[in-house]
Amino acid sequence: MSKWIPLWLHKLGSPPTFYRFAGTLRPWLLALALIAGAVALYGGLVLAPADYQQGDAYRIIFIHVPSAWMGLFIYGVLAVASFVALVWRIKLAESVAMESAPIGAAFTFITLVTGSLWGKPMWGTWWTWDARLTSELVLLFLYLGVIGLYHAFEDRRQGARAAAFLAIIGIINVPIVHFSVNWWNTLHQGSTIRILGPSKISASMLWPLLTMMVATKFYYVASLFGRVRADLLDLEGGKEWVRRIAGGDDAPNRQAPGERA
């Protein structure tokens, strides 16, 4: 390996080290996600005023927009991890990529359903084939395609490589989703939050939205860590470190009735 990669990062790529690291961090990440989520919900549902045009229906924004961001963000992680997995054949990268896909699919599904529930009272329809909605649906199908392809192979690592290839090709959809509201004249409203320039939202509504974004980020990492841990146990089933975990470290009281019999 190259010298510029720090040793701890190199070590973190080994399954037993990552298993322990992720196990230690996960409860803290989950706690941060729950606290930030609770604060964001209080700010969004109770403190923030009703919208002058959309009344209280706009409050769906506090879950809809952070979920949509996560759908795109996780796809980015999926594509980068897929690239690393294909080029360097790192087992952990394959795991991170393939375990990210279900979480991304979950967030994309939430985005579509909450958007539909928001669209009905505001636009008068649950669904319309406009650019933003259609490209978001394509994003969900890409996630499902990656998950399906991964599970279609008898050999898991072969499946991961095929699915990683699909994930990398599918990245073309991410800018399409993001810019669809600018490129086409759609029913979906334009971006509310801007990284460059002032956002088009009052501060009382902005902070719960950003807090929820932080909460969903923490949640994603916590969920990913839990999934990768489960996956590593499965992948490394024959190795000594997994046997030690199965043998006692995690569930020592399971052995007792068997010994007595």
Binding site: L45, V46, A50, G55, D56, A57, R59, I60, I63, H64, S67, E99, P102, I103, A106, F109, I110, V113, T114, L117, W118, K120, P121, Y219, S223, G226, R227, R229, A230, L233, D234, G237, V242, R243, I245, A246, G247, D250, A251, R254, G258
Partner: protein
């Protein structure tokens, strides 16, 4: 409180949206925990079978 629950007449849209958000994420959170438990159970069974196989020739009194 009832005004809060009514959501200005949009309760039928706002609350289901939040319910979907929480239920989907709860399912996402629980599924790896269940998978991990199942894997460990299978692994333990496999290890038990292996040790049983290794011990069988050593105990001639057993006639299956």
């Amino acid at each position: 409180m009832s005004a809060f629950l009514a959501m200005g007449g949009y309760a039928a849209y706002v609350w289901p949206a939040y319910a979907v958000f929480f239920l989907v994420l709860l399912a996402d959170f629980l599924s790896p925990l269940l998978r991990r438990r199942r894997n460990l159970r299978e692994l333990r069974a496999r290890l038990a079978r292996q040790t049983a196989r290794q011990q069988r020739p050593a105990s001639p009194t057993v006639h299956p």
